[in-house]
Symmetry: C2
Subunit: 247 residues, 2 copies
Amino acid sequence: MNIRIVLAYDGQAYVGWQRQSNGISVQEKLEEVLSRIAEKKVQVEGASRTDTGVHALGMTASFRWDRVRPSGSELHRAVNALLPGDIRVTSLAKAPLKFHARFSAKRKLYRYRILCHPTGDAFRRLYTWHVSSPLNLFAMRKAARSFVGKMDFSSVAANPGYDRTTMVRTIFRCAVLRKPNDEIHIEVEGDGFLYKMVRTIVGTLVDVGKGKRDAESISTMLNSRDRRLAGKTAPAQGLYLVHVKYH
Amino acid sequence: MNIRIVLAYDGQAYVGWQRQSNGISVQEKLEEVLSRIAEKKVQVEGASRTDTGVHALGMTASFRWDRVRPSGSELHRAVNALLPGDIRVTSLAKAPLKFHARFSAKRKLYRYRILCHPTGDAFRRLYTWHVSSPLNLFAMRKAARSFVGKMDFSSVAANPGYDRTTMVRTIFRCAVLRKPNDEIHIEVEGDGFLYKMVRTIVGTLVDVGKGKRDAESISTMLNSRDRRLAGKTAPAQGLYLVHVKYH
């Protein structure tokens, strides 16, 4: 049986989704729990790596399950009972045998939360990037349009060796949204993302919002394929994998 | 010059407002910062003690300030720049000389956030009390009315030695509110509170909501002045000092 699950997690305690030698990953926690329930090794495939400290509202993962019990809602409850409180399985269901969380994924939506406020907020410091100066959303929206399309995103990727095949990705949408409580959200939807790509896009857009660079400079930067022309990588704690689409 | 400030803080890293020998308090952090700016010892009076791990949205404090500069908005900015991100001063203003954050306080409003959901939420576990079973709000509201009035609250106070004078307090309002995203808030407004009183009221109301005790049992419990008849103390991370009223 093939199972598809959706997870939300607070990334602050983890080195990201994928197993790493330098710390605890969400994948490792989930595999531990599933293996304990199955009484044998269970391997999980995640739709996406998320970096150290990055959060998820809707990470999708899949795994094979050959036990009759627990299954379905019983398994769902058992997994949540054994997982730590900062990782929650929000849905668990049987999937077609050919479903694979990573290879079947068509689109991923990321959201980046900026708290734009002079002094910040005691309760959101772990869940947003605090920017104390005002941001020009008109300029940011203009700049954001330059990221939409199918192109080589080398100039907004850290560590290009991470992806050995191609640096070409398609971004379907890059939106700068004003939200309640002094938040600005940047939503980026694409067919895939290079290492630290969303956070570099955000860092670059914030430079535009602060007036440190022109909206027009984005196309030149993308054409250059030179990471040094982009802005700083925005911090991990503002980034959320919102959901993964499969059709 | 007498200064009145309002603070918000995430209580998870602190032993509460008041200086303690067993850990770092919010008062200590604030006095450190003010003393550093004043280049001499500054003592701060807070409106209320908050317990270890309890949060504040609107703690009020007062202190004497005899420096010409920085003062006003300059001082406000300097304090926030030096305080850690989990403590924020939300307002700072000159107050009449006779104003004292504790002695002038007339009413305090506390809010308790319950997350009533089968599996909980990865992002709210540090800021709510997760209750996984459904709660009967009708019964809780009926029970809540019994806490309103001027009476001896010994049966919902931990460690009665904490307050050596009287266990009589006046509760003006005790409301059970259904909120978005599966939250239930319990708001309690009073002229003062005994040690762990709000959290014991909440623990008792949740027992009523679960059907473990009758709404009618509250009056008997209060009349008994016996702490053993009340419910368990609700955990600290759901409690917020919302604001302190001075008139």
